[in-house]
Symmetry: C2
Subunit: 344 residues, 2 copies
């Protein structure tokens, strides 16, 4: 059992994903600022995991607050929420989770500081449990799309490490294995942060699911040679029309899958849907520190001053997406209708 993020009496404990697979160490965040910094610096990453961590961060901030009454807490609560919301712009689960904590706060507001505290801590833990449940449901829906003996390509890490547990894309793969299907996984290494090489391989190896790491440029080659049967990826935000923001490189995989007549599936909980955003062009794409591209494991690979770009996500137009697997069922095109129905 992988413990990605957990609420404990001493704080929010996270497996430090920057150091995997060479080191399995845990970070304890003792206040909401430390949680925010852990999200920003990618100690924890993955849209659903970020959502749960942010909710726990809000709960931690309120638990640590010295506010004597609710009116004092009101302003502080707003600031706590803002610190967590300000960490990363693309994954909508972050905003969804903070918004849900705001609603809980509002619901409890007239019952006093202690009741608010208790409710927020409970709500964050509840979101942790619900995320695992959602992933298991998603797995059951999604595994029906996975043929026996499928060779599945995935990009980035949409696994237990990207969620409270079990995973979205890797949850579907785990469910296929649990249903008795023999599957084999090709994991794109996913530069610059190497989530595929470092995280996806690590968690699938733990579960004895056969996995082969390939560089991002190899995916098309293996598709063309007929060695990939389907693609399953996660998502950071899905617009109302089905456009999918996900880890940089996902769009390329989708185009290559279409070109080679390979189904391209996205697995994400309904908390990843952002029906307020009509299409992907309106999803903000985070630009991260150029040093993430210039260095690998601390080693400089370019000249120190080489210009680099580092968009962390891209948008895959819905036309490339064969199906979106959610915890409420599988959405098919046209997504404007199917997603609205699922979200209702």
């Amino acid at each position: 059992m992988i413990r990605t993020v957990e609420w404990t009496d001493v704080g929010v404990v996270m497996l430090d994903q920057r150091l995997l697979p060479s080191l399995e160490t845990y970070v304890t965040c003792k206040d909401h600022r430390e949680v925010a910094e852990a999200i920003r610096s990618m100690v924890i990453r993955g849209a659903p995991a970020i959502g749960v961590a942010a909710a726990m961060g809000v709960a931690l901030g309120v638990r640590n607050s010295r506010a004597g009454d609710v009116s004092e807490l009101d302003a502080e609560f707003g600031r706590i929420c803002d610190v967590l919301s300000g960490t990363r712009p693309t994954a909508v689960n972050l905003f969804w989770a903070v918004e849900r904590m705001r609603r809980t706060y509002q619901r409890m507001r007239f019952q006093g500081v202690e009741a608010i505290r208790a409710a927020l801590i409970l709500e964050a833990q509840q979101m942790h449990a619900e995320d695992i449940d959602a992933n298991r449901r998603m797995g059951r829906f999604g595994q029906e799309l996975v043929p026996h003996r499928a060779r599945i390509l995935t990009h980035c890490n949409a696994g237990a490490l990207a969620t409270a547990g079990y995973g979205t894309a890797l949850g579907v793969i785990r469910a296929a294995v649990e249903a008795g299907k023999a599957v084999e996984v090709f994991a794109d290494e996913t530069r610059p942060f190497l989530q595929g090489a470092r995280l996806t391989a690590w968690e699938l190896e733990k579960d004895n699911i056969p996995v082969t790491v390939i560089t991002d440029g190899m995916a098309g080659h293996f598709m063309r040679l007929g060695r990939i049967d389907c693609v399953i990826v996660g998502a950071d935000r899905i617009a109302a029309n089905g456009d999918v923001a996900n880890k940089i490189g996902t769009y390329s995989v989708a185009v290559l899958a279409r070109e080679n007549s390979i189904p391209f599936f996205v697995a994400a909980p309904v908390s990843t849907l952002d029906l307020a955003v009509p299409d992907g062009s309106l999803i903000p794409i985070e630009e991260r520190d150029p040093e993430e591209v210039r260095r690998v494991g601390g080693v400089l690979i370019t000249s120190a001053s080489t210009r680099v770009a580092n968009p962390a996500f891209d948008v895959t137009p819905s036309g490339y997406v064969s199906a979106i697997i959610t915890d409420r069922g599988v959405a098919r095109p046209p997504y404007a209708e199917s997603l609205r129905r699922l979200a209702a």
Copy 2:
């Protein structure tokens, strides 16, 4: 002026491309086995550069030979050629260069050992000079396809470092700059060996040509956003029908270019054409050491035992290729005819 490979009295001197851009060091190969090992271990790489290095390796082997007469030299010469031909299987320039050295040997065979030695050394140096000339001609032909203010994507390194000098794809870019065009280059980092991040950026920066390094998964994203005007890559072997074997990841770039209506150009000398091979499916694809994928700059990025694949090349079907720029002119589809005409 970049000195990729040079014939000197003490041996074949090569810039060690494994250590760029952090270290600019030169390796002196004192016998043909050292040249072969330098090619195999990628001290030197790039189809035309490998060809020139192999020719110099043959010349060096014969120079060092203690054979007293031609009949003694005959058997030794065959072994020298085999050692060099056996280094890398995909780039056809290697076999072309060794074959050319064989023909020179046969032509000189009746003039005695000393005459053979002198002729082979001259031939290898001649091939070095011819390669630079070919690249300059290719540049002049190719730059006409490059619009003023073009933002050009390239993959791997098809530059001065991949040739005796000036470069194939980067030669076209240099020629465009010399023709007064403002261009900007996006360089795919090109995992696993990082030729784009390490070599292409280094040589373009030396020439003050603006370059931005991106990870391989970003190319499609920038194409979709309309930020790339054309793609220019090199080639390791081009089949009679125009299918192009080139660095792994090239096929993906070609598919993404097509999908986004961006011209995809291949620049290669006629020595890269292999008209004996009808199509790309018959080109042998080198599988290299898995450690090249598992490690970056010596640092392990996966678990030590993670399974990886490491095909060094892929094949881009000719249907994705807008034009092939050679030193004898620009070939357009249908390539079966245009390439045969150019090669004649």
